[in-house]
């Protein structure tokens, strides 16, 4: 709250926030992909650019004082160069395609990474493009003609919950840093921050029950059905390390076809800790471990329940539920039975 007030009272920050809000209202939410139109590129001189202007002014005064034509020629050449630079900087941005803005889910305490792909659809190379989000700048990239590159911006670590990205900026100060040209993108983008993971410790109680039909929509873990390529979210237990060693480095995963899996319930009530956050962290650990072992698991939280299943989508669902769990939950005495 105090930070908010300080921000509102700070003249430049306040002005910048107002400008951003105005740009947001003006442009609306962006669909994917965005081709940068010249109407949404903004450009202003940098401090170096203002210094360059003063340099030209000083040269103009000197040339006038000495009434020296060559001095005028140099002054005006530099002035012309400055104007050309402004257009060049603007064009370096215009026509750029920004696509695939996404946020990978992360655990609280680690840094969320914003991923943005920049595509240069032109015949000419573009230089020094910088992606920025929440005052964090990524390393600048050069884009050869027709090339697409992905840029990762490491945002500061957060508490668990939803992570809303209001604005992503792309900037350039090419060629001489005299002008800064930038765009603001307003993607409809919400990431998620899972709770922090507890260290290994208390295991969930071993009340394993057989539940029929508890399986991933696509795959079971019963009968070996062959090998397929690794996909994000696959349990490392299923990776066919031997096959990989034979097959020349490609990550292969054992593919099973089957129905019944041993399942286990991970329940809020079973956690040894009593604090809400610590309980969530513990559950988080259990979910990860169960997923890592390739087990089917269900999650019981006060008010919600996820029936046992396997797979990365299930894992994400469970962890998201933990992430968005209300901070001040009613204390259920024995969990949900």
């Amino acid at each position: 709250m105090r930070q908010l007030v300080a921000r509102a009272l700070h003249p430049t920050l306040f002005l910048r926030d107002q400008l951003r809000e105005w740009a947001r209202r003006r442009q609306g939410t962006d669909q994917d992909p965005v081709t940068i139109h010249r109407r949404r590129t903004y450009i202003l001189p940098t401090w170096l650019g203002i210094g360059f202007g003063l340099l030209i002014f000083a040269m103009l005064l000197a040339s006038m004082n000495y009434n020296n034509s060559m001095g005028f020629a140099l002054t005006f050449a530099l002035a012309g160069l400055g104007l050309v630079t402004m257009h060049w900087c603007h064009q370096n941005m215009t026509g750029l395609v920004v696509r695939g803005i996404r946020l990978e889910p992360v655990f609280a305490g680690t840094q969320p990474v914003l991923e943005v792909s920049l595509e240069n659809p032109s015949n000419t190379e573009r230089y020094e493009l910088v992606v920025a989000c929440e005052a964090i700048e990524a390393a600048p990239i050069d884009l050869p003609p027709g090339d697409t590159q992905s840029v990762r911006v490491k945002l500061p670590a957060r508490k668990r919950g939803h992570l809303r990205i209001y604005q992503v900026g792309v900037r350039t100060r090419f060629p001489f840093g005299l002008f800064r040209c930038w765009i603001w993108l307003h993607p409809n983008l919400t990431g998620i921050v899972y709770p922090a993971v507890s260290p290994r410790g208390a295991e969930p109680p071993a009340d394993e029950t057989e539940i029929e039909g508890a399986n991933d929509a696509n795959e079971g873990a019963e009968d070996f059905a062959g090998l397929r390529n690794f996909r994000a979210g696959d349990s490392p237990r299923r990776v066919a390390w031997k096959a990989m060693a034979r097959g020349g480095g490609e990550l292969l995963v054992k593919h099973f076809a089957g129905a019944d899996v041993a399942t286990r319930w991970l329940s809020w009530a079973d956690t040894p800790e009593k604090d809400v956050e610590q309980r969530l962290s513990r559950l988080c650990r259990w979910v990860i471990d169960a997923h890592g072992r390739g087990q089917a698991y269900g999650l019981r939280l006060p008010g919600t329940e996820f029936t046992p299943a396997v797979g990365s989508r299930h894992r994400h669902r469970c962890l998201s539920a933990l992430a968005t769990f209300p901070e001040t939950a009613r204390r259920p005495t024995g969990g949900q039975q």
Partner: protein, 660 residues
């Protein structure tokens, strides 16, 4: 064994080294023309600083401590003051700038330091241009700006420096587009005349006329082949005998040396223009003094703040330390002072009584022999003509305290100043107000450009006498001794064996053409570029059809021209950054997609052609066959080696036939 191994360096320090090399190249380029003028210690200091900095980057040395830098900077500052006596003015200023640059170089480690260094380099270019705007300085300026700007580009880059060719080409392209803006600004930017604050003039002793004249002074000056000024006539060009360019007028005489009077002559004069005027434009090389050369007698001139003195000199408000152009209208037959002001009469009759006694005696004799002033003057000139006087560039030195006596009765060999001095002394002694006028006589007419080029070797001195009822009359005693000096040139008037500088070159026929061609180029450069000022600007606007051009008109035209230039740049940039032309397969497929989109099936950004075809077939089962075969044909053309021209034709047929 000791080996000088270049250590392994990190990527970042390699980048820094590249940036440094660029900065060093830029600084050396900008500094090079300053070098001949600089004291040796500054050159050595600069070389040491550049060398140390490069080695520091190579071997990872640390920056010198703050204390050492302060000591060095103070020593450098003191050195500049010791060498120049000031830090003001172009020369001392450039020296100080270079010393500052050296100091900055020692502490250049961050990106911002490099930027500051490049800004200093731009100023070095400016100070060189202020010092000497010769023709070669234009290509040098372009080169220096190009190198410095490329260096700036490398300095501000956050990632790895660009390859030299890429960076150089980029900057060259930008400069090409900056050129029209520069030309427009140069021609149209309102030029405000005059200096805003007094600046000390250049300390370098430039060749030219002087405020005083002692025997041998003009002869020394005549050895220089440098251009003094050029004149471009409108209409008639006066004959050689009328080409007397008036410079400083000398009144005070101490028996050997003639000087300008102090205080300087006032503005008040009485000139009655009569006869045919001569209209011309003078492009005067800088000589660091006040006088503006003009033909006798200037009546109108276009030069801000210039004025005419009561002895008909044209003076500028501040020393002429830049190439200066001005238009003058002169009336060669104008009537000068009908009555002589008493103060001037006293000034122009004064002679030191105890010097040159033989000359004074001769004057008294002549005075009693001739009753009119005219007869007296003719008698003196006749004496120069009849007696064995020799006109020579190498007169014997006059060492005694009575140099006029020595010349008139003993050596009888002299250059124009000897004759003018002797004649004026005789006149004054005879009671006729007289004075010495120095300036230039003659000049070489370039048939290619129709311009008169006047060199230092055309420097001359003559006399002016005041006669009752006639005013001031020019008398050139040299003409009596060596008429060819006036009618032809110095070379023609000198005795056999004496040479004027450059005379040998002038004699070669082919070289003569070449020399005059170059002279014409140089003159045009002087007149149109260096001499371009407020007057020229208004002239040009009038020629463009503007009735009453003023700065508002200039601003409007300037705005339009710059806007057009930048609009062209924008168009060119948009063309350069255009997307490549899609191949025919892609174009056909896009058309197909457009038709489907019109029918309500839009391809999503993440859908590949096959996925999209599946969905489209589901949405429009009636078109499933067509969609399927088109997609398969497209995929074959685009992603496999098969296909070729017949397949493309088939795809085209199918897509043209497909109407959902």
């Amino acid at each position: 064994m000791i080996t000088l191994a270049i250590p392994e360096r990190s990527t970042e320090s390699r980048f820094e080294f590249v940036r440094l090399v660029w900065a060093a190249i830029a600084l050396v380029t900008c500094m090079a023309p300053h070098l001949p003028r600089l004291p040796v210690w500054i050159t050595l200091l600069t070389a040491a600083c550049i060398g140390w900095r490069l080695a520091a980057a190579l071997y990872g040395w640390r920056a010198p401590s703050r204390g050492l830098r302060i000591v060095l900077a103070t020593a450098g500052f003191a050195g500049v003051i010791a060498s120049y006596g000031t830090i003001n003015g172009v020369e001392a200023g450039s020296a100080l700038l270079i010393v500052m640059m050296d100091m900055k170089l020692l502490e250049t480690w961050r990106r911002r330091d490099f930027q500051v260094l490049m800004f200093i380099a731009y100023f070095l270019i400016l100070s060189q241009l202020l010092h000497g705007p010769e023709l070669w300085s234009l290509p040098w300026m372009v080169l220096a700006v190009w190198v410095t700007t490329t260096s700036l580009l490398q300095a501000v880059r956050m990632a790895a420096p660009l390859p030299a060719a890429t960076a150089g080409r980029l900057v060259a392209r930008m400069l090409v587009f900056a050129l029209p803006v520069m030309v427009a600004l140069f021609i149209l930017f309102p030029r405000v005349p005059g200096p805003f604050w007094a600046m000390p003039t250049r300390s370098g002793a430039s060749t030219g006329l002087s405020e005083e004249m002692s025997p041998g002074a003009i002869a020394r000056l005549s050895k220089s082949n440098k251009v003094a000024f050029r004149a471009n006539f409108e209409g008639r060009i006066p004959p050689p005998a009328q080409r007397y360019w008036r410079g400083p007028v000398l009144h005070s005489f101490d028996g050997a040396t003639w000087r300008e009077p102090r205080p300087a002559p006032s503005h008040v004069d009485r000139l009655e223009p009569s006869g045919l005027p001569v209209q011309y434009r003078v492009t005067l090389e800088p000589h660091d003094r006040h006088w503006l050369l003009a033909l006798d007698y200037p009546e109108f001139w276009t030069m801000y703040g210039a004025y005419r003195t009561n002895d008909y000199q044209l003076l500028s408000k501040r020393p002429v330390d830049q190439l200066t152009a001005y238009d003058v209208r002169s009336y060669p037959n104008a009537q000068t002072d009908r009555d002589l002001a008493p103060a001037i009469r006293i000034l122009d009759l004064r002679l030191p009584a105890d010097r040159n006694p033989a000359t004074l005696a001769l004057a008294r004799t002549l005075r009693s022999a001739h009753e009119t002033d005219h007869k007296l003057i003719n008698a003196v000139l006749e004496r120069f003509r009849q007696e064995p006087f020799v006109y020579t560039m190498q007169p014997p030195a006059l060492r005694g305290s009575d140099p006029v006596d020595e010349f008139l009765f003993d050596t009888r060999r002299g250059f124009c100043e000897h004759y003018a001095s002797a004649f004026t002394t005789l006149m004054r002694a005879a009671g006729i107000p007289a004075r010495i006028v120095t300036g230039y006589q003659g000049g070489e007419l370039n048939p290619l450009s129709n311009r008169l080029t006047v060199r230092q070797s055309d420097a001359h001195a003559w006399s002016e006498v005041w006669l009752e009822g006639e005013g001031w009359i020019r008398v050139d005693p040299t003409a009596a001794v060596a008429p060819d000096r006036i009618e032809l040139s110095l070379a023609d008037a000198l005795p056999y064996g004496e040479r004027v500088p450059g005379q040998f070159l002038r004699g070669l026929p082919g070289l003569q053409q070449l020399r005059q061609g170059w002279d014409a180029v140089d003159a045009a450069w002087n007149e149109w570029v260096l001499g371009y000022g407020p007057e020229r600007q208004l002239e040009l606007l009038r020629a463009l059809g503007l009735k009453n051009p003023d700065w508002r008109g200039l601003a409007v035209i300037l705005g339009i021209v710059v806007a057009v230039a930048l609009a062209l740049l924008t168009l060119w940039l948009a063309w350069r950054y255009r997307p490549p032309k899609p191949d025919p397969t892609q174009l056909l497929y896009l058309r197909f997609l457009g038709r489907l989109a019109n029918a309500g099936v839009q391809r999503r950004p993440w859908e590949g052609p096959i996925d999209f075809a599946e969905r489209a077939s589901r949405d429009r089962p009636e078109d499933a066959t067509a969609i399927d075969s088109i997609t398969r044909s497209y995929v074959r053309l685009r992603y496999s080696e098969e296909g070729g021209q017949p397949e493309l034709a088939r795809l085209k047929r199918m897509i043209l036939a497909y109407r959902p």
